[in-house]
């Protein structure tokens, strides 16, 4: 008998599923019709083109409808749908509705599909001769993406993961007894909600940007394939160029946003941690920049055609590969923010293999047309140096890819390799030298003329910026005192890259905006490198913990410091106080005040206050989020690494002592209590036995203790060890002011040590936080660089589009 479930809204899901299937079939129809229209003439062509455009429109409408319905379900809290239950909750603010939408894999595939629809619509609207052949590839990609959310099973093989699957049909729930009660829905009070780590505005703006970046890499690739399809193996480069630079700009922005997010909201304590997921989006960007540059070479002199094909294809494949890495669950133990496997890795692999074969087959078919120019590029030409730059970018991409792919290599050859234990240092040891070479090429590249230039002329032009940069480097080195030659090299090369491009902008382009795109973008890259060098190597952890005994080289971490409520500790040039905490919703804000010493008044003046937070979420665990005070020349980052979350301010019986602890000490040893340092000074054998009511034959030995409290005040205590007849007992010594009591319970004559018992009053344990504070100097150089790079690339795109119009 069919169970009649109460309160479900099944029609929306059915409608959504209908649109998913429609989007898939319409994409397939559109791809086929575009393909046929490529090879037909005149009227016939027009008919097929019309069919292709209509089916594209149908596909677009379906995609928008699927997205609309899913939004509607999330907004209406229809928890009978697994995706809604899994990614949203009723307490979630409306502004995070978008974030819920693309938190899951299905939603992010929809987002990706959405951008292809928009980009495809632009290509169709322009309606040039390239429309049909380019759209063939774009729509084939759409067929694959639509299949990712189909959620159909053919002969036991599951295709895609459907966003409209019902909670009660999901494998995680289907076997639970309560799910088969007709009124099961009333038992599900709320959804699981959005991961608190992701509840911030970055989650609203970063995924759309990144996915637009990913989607846009498909367009230069589609142009390359189109050129091969119609036999115009050279002509595709020119119209594809603006798209390539558009992709460079957007994907670059996406990658940088990821870094900014990590810096601001996640607790990495830095801008870039070489996490596999970060790498997965950086690598395609590197090859994409290479692709855009060799395409420029090709446009100028017709060479580098093979490289243009290889790099545009490689970029697109690397985007697919990065999707595979982050979604197949293969990264498993190496990344903290990969998706888990939804059983779609096979599908993703198939997707990659299809496009690899498509590209190879088309290249082989056209091999006679793509004969490389026999003429060699001269070493004095700009294209030669640009080509070198591309090679360095590719090497950089290869290094990152191989190291990130260790889990994949393990899977293939069955090895048990793990990433290098200190992955960041390992990446840096390769990437810093490569960055040096890249920035040197950026510095000199533009001073060479296309095809050939006079070397003397080039040297004359770059001499000025070279000398200025040497001076600036020397000056900065004087203040930074880098010891590693790699850092000094990068300092110089990035400064030179900036100065040389600035020089080029002023003296050669004379500040004409339309032509200044390359110079500005390169200045931006130079600043990004310089900013990350300075902020990373010169960052200082000011929360150094000087109190602890050194536990050997394995335990040299002193980054975190304990701060009692209302105590003040010196950190760097600041004095820092923990003022207290405040709970707002699910967030607990810890108020950390920074003071500066005023040398005139001798008092502490408040500088600023920061409120890092710990978010409590029963379902997902607690997440700590740092707070950062920004100045023009540096940031002060404050992060709560550990805090006791329950309230300790409840009144405690003053008389009560905690469970005593026992310590074995030699003379001179120091131990730490919650409010003092206790040093065992000496044994005192001359006790006044009469006052202790002892006979002369009895033994009484005192342990002289010096107790230093947080205000550096010294207290003395002397517990006494007594043997009276055959009885052993101890006379305790108390320091009432500190709530401490000591007992002297044993003498260990063999090792010359004593055993001390320490009692602490419960009221002694005051509330505290463990925090970390880091100063990142000059990180704003990096952000300014990022903005310049985006502006510069935008100017380059505008220029390329104008070139296209003129050539028509």
């Amino acid at each position: 008998m069919e169970i009649q479930y109460v309160g479900e809204h099944l029609s929306y899901g059915k409608l959504g599923n209908g649109f998913i299937v429609l989007s898939f079939t319409a994409a397939l129809l559109s791809a086929i019709s575009f393909l046929i229209s490529v090879y037909r003439k005149k009227d016939d062509k027009a008919v097929w083109l019309k069919i292709a455009r209509m089916s594209f429109a149908m596909h677009a409408i379906s995609v928008f409808s699927v997205i609309g319905i899913l939004f509607f379900l999330i907004h209406g809290h229809f928890f009978e749908y697994y995706y809604v239950w899994q990614h949203s909750s009723t307490i979630l603010p409306v502004k995070y509705m978008f974030a819920c939408f693309w938190e899951g894999q299905e939603g992010s595939f929809l987002l990706w599909t959405f951008w292809h629809v928009i980009l495809g619509a632009i290509i169709i609207r322009k309606g040039s001769e390239w429309e049909s052949p380019v759209m063939v590839t774009v729509m084939l990609i759409q067929v694959f993406l639509a299949s990712m959310i189909l959620g159909l099973t053919f002969y036991g093989i599951k295709i895609g993961s459907n966003p409209f699957i019902l909670l009660r049909n999901h494998p995680d729930f289907a076997n639970l007894p309560f799910i088969h009660l007709p009124e099961y829905l009333s038992k599900i009070k709320d959804g699981r909600g959005l991961n608190p780590l992701l509840q911030n505005y970055w989650m609203v703006i970063h995924p759309p940007t990144l996915f637009l970046g990913f989607a846009s890499t498909a367009i230069p690739f589609a142009f390359a394939m189109a050129g091969l399809m119609v036999g115009k193996v050279r002509e595709w480069v020119k119209p594809a160029l603006p798209w390539a630079f558009f992709s460079v700009m957007i994907l670059g922005t996406g990658v940088l946003m990821g870094g900014a997010w990590a810096y601001e909201a996640l607790s990495f304590g830095g801008f870039w941690a070489w996490d596999p997921v970060e790498n997965a989006s950086l690598v395609p960007w590197l090859t994409l920049v290479g692709a855009a540059h060799v395409m420029l070479i090709n446009k100028k002199n017709g060479s580098s055609l093979v490289s243009s094909f290889i790099l545009t294809t490689l970029t697109f494949l690397l985007v697919l590969y990065s999707t595979f890495l982050t979604r197949s669950g293969i990264l498993g133990n190496t990344s903290v923010h990969a998706f888990t496997d939804l059983g779609m890795s096979g599908q993703l692999l198939l997707y990659m293999v299809f496009f690899v074969f498509m590209a190879i087959a088309l290249l082989i078919y056209n091999r006679k047309k793509i004969n490389p120019l026999q003429e060699e590029e001269k070493i004095q030409s700009r294209e030669f140096w640009m080509f070198m730059g591309m090679l360095v970018l590719v090497i950089s991409a290869v290094q990152i890819t191989i190291t990130t792919s260790i889990p994949v290599i393990n899977k293939i050859v069955g090895s048990k390799m793990a990433p290098p234990a200190n992955a960041i240092d390992f990446y840096n040891s390769w990437q810093i030298p490569l960055a040096v070479v890249i920035s040197l090429l950026i510095a000199i590249g533009q001073f060479f003329k296309w095809r050939d230039s006079n070397m003397k002329d080039v040297i004359k032009k770059i001499a000025l910026s070279f000398i200025i940069s040497i001076l600036v480097t020397a000056l900065l080195e004087y203040s930074f005192r880098f010891e590693r030659y790699q850092y000094i090299m990068l300092l110089f090369s990035s400064i030179w890259a900036f100065v040389a491009n600035f020089d080029y902008l002023i003296r050669i382009i004379k500040g004409k905006l339309p032509f200044s795109g390359a110079s500005i973008a390169h200045m931006g890259i130079a600043l990004i490198l310089l900013g990350s060098l300075i902020s990373n190597t010169e960052k200082t952890i000011i929360s150094r913990n000087m109190l602890n005994v050194d536990l050997g080289k394995d335990f040299s971490n002193k980054e975190n410091i304990l701060l009692y409520r209302n105590d003040t500790l010196a950190m760097g040039e600041y004095y820092v106080t923990y003022k207290g905490k405040e709970k707002v919703g699910v967030n607990i804000y810890y108020e950390i005040e920074y003071f500066k010493a005023n040398h005139e008044t001798g008092k502490l003046d408040k500088a600023f206050s920061l409120k890092p937070l710990v978010q409590i979420n029963d379902r997902m665990g607690n997440v700590s989020e740092p707070a950062t005070k920004r100045f023009i020349n540096r940031d002060i980052y404050t992060h709560i690494t550990y805090a006791e979350l329950e309230d300790k301010n409840a009144p405690v019986d003053d008389g009560e002592y905690k469970k005593p602890s026992t310590k074995t000490l030699s003379v001179g040893d120091t131990i730490i209590t919650s409010n003092s340092l206790v040093t065992f000074m000496s044994l005192n054998k001359s006790q006044d036995k009469k006052s202790l009511f002892l006979e002369d034959t009895d033994i009484a030995v005192g342990a002289q203790l010096s107790v230093v409290d947080v205000n550096r005040k010294v207290h003395l205590a002397q517990p006494i060890f007594i043997i009276k007849g055959s009885n052993i007992y101890t006379k305790e010594s108390e320091i009432t002011e500190l709530g401490l009591k000591f007992g002297f319970s044993k003498i260990l004559p063999d090792s010359n040590k004593i055993e001390l018992t320490i009692f602490e009053k419960k009221s002694n344990s005051r509330e505290f936080v463990i925090m970390k504070a880091i100063i990142f100097p000059d990180i704003n150089i990096l952000w300014i660089g990022a903005i310049l790079m985006i502006i510069g690339t935008w100017l380059a795109i505008v220029k390329r589009i104008k070139d296209l119009k003129i050539s028509k």
Binding site: V336, T340, V394, Q399, I402, W430, L551, M620, Y642, K772
Partner: protein, 136 residues
């Protein structure tokens, strides 16, 4: 020989160097047994936290020393000392990866990588099961 050939050789040489350096710098996923046999070498160990034993964390004494017991995939249990503050929400950690080396009978970890089951689309049904049992 053309310039391009020389460049091609250089590029191939660098690519080989990348591969060799990656392999030689890589660490190994291993059970405690291997780490004990190679004292002082760095290993990645995957295992489950033994929650029946107390965590060792006395921030008032040392905020940068956290200890716990880990059972590796072969079932060997060792005490792990981590050079850092207790990670937020460690109580919920299930499978974790520790990076470091064996010193005597203790594992000295320089990094602890946690993956909570409920984060990042893991097996969320566990919590629902608990919820559904408690409603009965």
């Amino acid at each position: 020989m053309k310039k391009m050939h020389i460049i091609a050789i250089v590029v191939i040489a660098v690519a080989l160097a990348v591969i060799v350096s990656t392999i030689s710098n890589s660490s190994t996923y291993a059970p405690f047994r291997d780490a004990m046999n190679h004292q002082g070498s760095t290993f990645h160990i995957v295992g489950k936290v033994n929650k029946s034993k107390d965590f060792i964390y006395n921030p008032e004494v040392n905020a940068n020393l956290f200890g716990f017991y880990l059972i590796d995939n072969e079932g060997t249990e060792k005490k792990v000392l981590y050079d850092g503050a207790k990670p937020q929400d460690f109580e919920r950690a299930e499978q974790i990866v520790i990076i470091g080396k064996m010193e005597g009978d203790e594992f000295h970890a320089s990094q602890v990588l946690m993956k909570c089951p409920s984060k990042y689309n893991g097996n969320q049904a566990d919590q629902m099961k608990v919820a559904s049992i408690s409603t009965k």
